[in-house]
């Protein structure tokens, strides 16, 4: 059994500009979110997955094969690119029929599927014979999603598909994606806004600076990233003395004293090590501790922290 997408030491450079830097991960079935700020390497990764570009180093397998110039792999992928560039002179039906035929459907099937997919993405019948170039961004997004679905792919790769959609449109598209996932379609969806994906995707791949910061289930990522930069607030009678002892003991990276509340906010060096040793250090410092409070952050707060 192989994962749907598998990257090993994958790098991609554009001349001297780094797009992806030595990333390794696996993506399984279901809905997976690819999240990272602009320039994180999401689009580069998506272009590699959809066979538009080749790796500079390392290996990328989709359905167990390299996707570059492989019709048998591309047949199974539906791709919705970022941006609203589209063959604007055509109406959505003509455009979808042509793209459906290019994906291996005959004309009659492509026509039937076009109508079906436009129904599914919620493009009203009244707009289906108008030029796509006259559409709003949200309508174009729906048509783009329909073209990715027309040949009923096994893997749907969507690059920022929610851009330009109003909240109701986002919900409708989310519902469509959830139904597709329930039907067995594997979906990789990218966004630079984590909350957009948090409610939709069971699995996440977090990226920044061309690297994968974390990948896995939301809980796994939360646990993983929590250790990166945990902060603890301690209220005691001598905050500066406690801070000095903890600093000397190598348990914290920095601290901040709040004089009004006799509290010290600690940035931990190594959270597991801190929780093992901190009671001993407090006893040695002879400081009276009144309260200890660990910050519980949402996934988004953690994500924002590690990507800024």
């Amino acid at each position: 059994m192989t994962p749907i997408i598998q990257a090993k030491g994958l790098s991609r450079f554009y001349g001297i500009v780094m797009g992806l830097n030595n990333v390794s991960f696996e993506i399984g079935d279901g809905l997976t979110g690819l999240v990272g700020p602009n320039g994180a390497g999401k689009t580069t990764l998506i272009r590699l997955i959809t066979g538009q570009i080749r790796p500079s180093a390392g290996d990328l397998l989709v359905f167990g094969q390299r996707p570059w110039n492989r019709p048998d792999v591309l047949r199974r992928i539906g791709y919705c690119p970022e941006g609203d560039a589209i063959h604007g002179e055509l109406n959505p039906i003509d455009w979808l029929v042509s793209l459906g035929c290019l994906s291996g459907l005959n004309k009659a099937t492509a026509l039937a599927r076009s109508v079906q997919m436009l129904d599914r993405v919620g493009l009203e019948a009244a707009h289906r014979r108008k030029s796509v170039g006259r559409f709003s961004k949200g309508m174009k997004q729906r048509v783009k999603l329909a073209q990715a679905l027309i040949h009923e792919p096994d893997l749907l790769v969507l690059d920022e598909p929610m851009n330009g959609l109003d909240p109701m449109g986002r919900r409708e598209i989310s519902d469509v994606l959830l139904k597709l996932a329930e039907g067995g379609v594997h979906i990789l969806i990218s966004s630079h806004i984590l909350p957009e994906l948090e409610s939709l995707c069971s699995q996440l791949v977090m990226m920044n600076w061309g690297r994968v910061l974390a990948a896995g289930s939301q809980q796994h990522i939360r646990n993983d990233l929590h250790t990166w930069s945990e902060r603890v607030t301690i209220r005691c009678d001598q905050p500066s003395v406690l801070a000095r002892h903890l600093l000397d003991g190598g348990l914290i990276r920095g601290f901040e004293i709040e004089p009004d509340s006799d509290a010290v906010i600690l940035t931990l060096q190594d959270p597991p090590d801190f929780y093992r040793r901190w009671t001993q250090v407090v006893l040695e410092s002879q400081v009276a501790v009144f309260e200890i409070r660990s910050e519980t952050r949402s996934l988004n707060q953690i994500f924002e922290r590690v990507t800024t």
């Binding site: 059994m1 696996e26 591309l74 199974r76 002179e89 035929c101």
Partner: protein, 265 residues
């Protein structure tokens, strides 16, 4: 994300479209995106300009003026230039507009996709120039150019051959460099105008020479061009072979090249 329990890919029943189906789909995209209200005026100007020019400039010396427009200007300058502008960059244009990913991620081998797209653009150009050529010949008929009806066959065949040859060459140049216009003009001035104008056998290197040989089946054209150093059949085959070989080479270049833009925005 380590997932040992990952999914077994379902069997692939259908690898991709057959060639006719893919060609039909691309052809629909090409002609429907070309024949639009926005583009129509430009096309009408392209088609009607030369007949009008022939009518205006040929009033004094009917035959010579008309042949100058039809053979030297139309076949010798307009067709190579239009091919260079229109046929060198279909892939680059799609990539720059951001529409290439919709086509290039379909299940077609890259060489096949390129050749089909090139063929569709060439077919469109052949149709447009067929109309333009017939209008030009109609202008000759109006100007009472002697034996004009005998010119129809050689002229249209030479035009079709020129389009195939110059389109293929333009496609190759367009894939080799982003500065295809500069390289094309350089090629045109050195090979077509320079070497092609030398009145020795070396001019067989020039495609324009072969175009002139094909059209010289029409006697007045032969007298006008004085390029009877070859047989029309061979020259016609040279034009087609050049176009096909250049297009195949371009497809092989496309097979190995990426046109998906730079790093993420």
């Amino acid at each position: 994300m380590s997932r040992n329990e990952a999914v077994t890919p379902p069997p692939v029943s259908d690898v991709g479209p057959d060639l006719g189906q893919a060609a039909d789909a691309l052809w629909c995209l090409v002609w429907k995106s070309r024949l639009t209200v926005r583009r129509l005026p430009r096309m009408i100007i392209l088609v009607a300009l030369l007949p009008l020019l022939a009518l205006i400039t040929s009033s004094d010396s009917h035959i010579r003026g008309f042949l100058m427009i039809a053979l030297n200007f139309h076949l010798g300058i307009v067709i190579p230039l239009v091919c260079l502008i229109q046929m060198a960059a279909p892939i680059r244009d799609e990539a720059e507009q951001g529409t290439l990913p919709f086509l290039a991620t379909r299940p077609l081998p890259r060489t096949t996709f390129f050749l089909l797209l090139h063929g569709c653009h060439l077919l469109w150009l052949e149709i447009v120039f067929l109309v333009a050529g017939l209008l030009l010949l109609a202008a000759g008929f109006y100007l009472e150019v002697p034996d004009i009806t005998e010119m129809i066959g050689p002229f249209l065949l030479a035009q079709a051959g020129a389009l195939v040859a110059f389109s293929g060459l333009s496609a190759l140049i367009g894939l080799l460099t982003r500065r295809y216009l500069l390289l094309g003009l350089l090629y045109g001035s050195v090979i077509e105008v320079g070497i092609g104008g030398i009145p020795t056998n070396i001019n067989v290197l020039s495609l324009s020479h072969h175009v002139r040989v094909v059209v010289s089946v029409f006697d007045p054209a032969d007298l006008f061009l004085r390029s009877n150093s070859g047989t029309a059949l061979i020259s016609g085959l040279v034009l087609i072979a050049t176009g096909v070989i250049a297009a195949v080479l371009a497809a092989l270049v496309y097979r190995g090249r990426e046109f998906a833009g730079g790093p993420d925005a």
